[in-house]
Symmetry: none
Subunit: 237 residues, 2 copies
């Protein structure tokens, strides 16, 4: 099982590029199935099990975002990587990226793609639980980019986050409005659960609260003895 090739569903409408990329991945020991649009991609997805999906965003018949949503309905674990055009507006992508595990701007570096695949598959192997690497979030009026490690409030200058701040906020966001157990953060981020790491985590909660103070719709609540809860109050309506 460990020795089997990993299966990739590649959905790309440009036949030339599709074949080049497929060959490149095949050469690097992946088992690649190529579909040439979203429709076909979904058919192929239903017929087999894949370890990763790589989806072009701009495609006729069914674009990558729509396809991703459908794939998610069938399988909420499989990692999805988007291939996006560099020219696309940040704010167009913003909303969609929230559902992705990663993305690459075209043109991209084939080595970067390999690095990402390796990282994703390793991550998947090391944790039995679905722990997909989703890395962009809308938290009230904040936008968290967990890949580039910044937190942006409205149109202000983004604030840089440290690795621990970033991971912790990301974990909270993944559990938005729900309990994020202490133990979870400690084992995932600190990889150890003792008095000191626990206190360290509290320090980071305080730091995050300071960042989030700008928006009074967002709040980190403590659930005594259990963990924390990132609440986002309904804006209005």
């Amino acid at each position: 099982m460990e020795t089997e090739k990993k299966k990739i569903l590649l959905v790309e409408d440009d036949p030339n590029f599709g074949i080049v990329l497929k060959d490149y991945l095949s050469m690097n020991d992946f088992d690649v199935v190529l579909a040439k649009n979203g429709m076909e991609g979904f058919e192929k997805f239903k017929k087999d099990n894949y370890d990763v999906c790589i989806l072009d965003v701009m495609m006729p018949y069914k674009d990558g975002f729509t396809l991703a949503r459908e794939i998610r309905e069938k399988n909420e674990n499989v990692p999805i990587i988007f291939l996006t055009a560099k020219t696309m507006k940040e704010d167009v992508l913003k909303g969609y990226k929230a559902g992705a595990d990663d993305y690459l701007n075209k043109p991209f570096d084939s080595e970067v793609l390999l690095m990402k695949l390796k990282a994703i598959l390793q991550r998947k192997a090391s944790s039995t639980l679905a722990d997909s690497k989703q890395f962009e979030f809308e938290i009230g009026n904040f936008h968290l980019n967990s890949k580039l490690r910044f937190l942006k409030y409205m149109e202000e200058e983004p604030v840089k986050l440290s690795p621990k701040e970033n991971e912790l906020l990301r974990l909270l966001a993944l559990h938005e409005n729900d309990l994020m157990p202490r133990e979870l953060a400690l084992t995932k981020i600190w990889r150890d659960d003792n008095y000191f790491t626990s206190r360290s985590m509290d320090v980071y909660i305080a730091k995050l609260r300071k960042y989030l103070k700008k928006d009074d719709v967002v709040e980190i609540l403590n659930i005594h003895g259990e963990g924390f809860r990132l609440v986002v109050k309904a804006e209005n309506q």
Copy 2:
């Protein structure tokens, strides 16, 4: 699929020249659709998929540059070749050329066009992989020519770059506004990842920062422990 004729959208307002060129290309095994201005060109573009677009720049109703921009919105991949008047100013073209794959000054040699078409179609197969060398970049108000190893700011004299400076800046530009992992540069440029190569890279980052200081829209940010990010802030609007 590989054997099918390549489809060309030719947009040219001069009917005589348009028909001559169309016939010439048809004779050389291309499937050519001719439009006689930008408006018509865009309509035809939307109705079909093309492998290449050849656009005259000077046209009534909608010029070639405007059309190119619209085409790019629909499709970020399709190669575009401009036909320009020899008299046009270099600096007028500069900005637009960045979005184009090639251009030809009128009058031009029909064989040159054929060669370019062949080259472009061949290149396209691997063009979405960035490793297929991309050599020119617009970075804010800088222009990087990575093949000739120079960096030009506005109308100033170009600055020569050393091989390492050049490769590093190119790699950053390929990942513009995105993370360029330390590890990537070290393996790709230094071919080794240790303390000293890493420090060497930091020295080169400092050099690049010094070059880029002229334009305060451009900046190299560090993401602690991860890598660097070449950010180009939105000019204005």
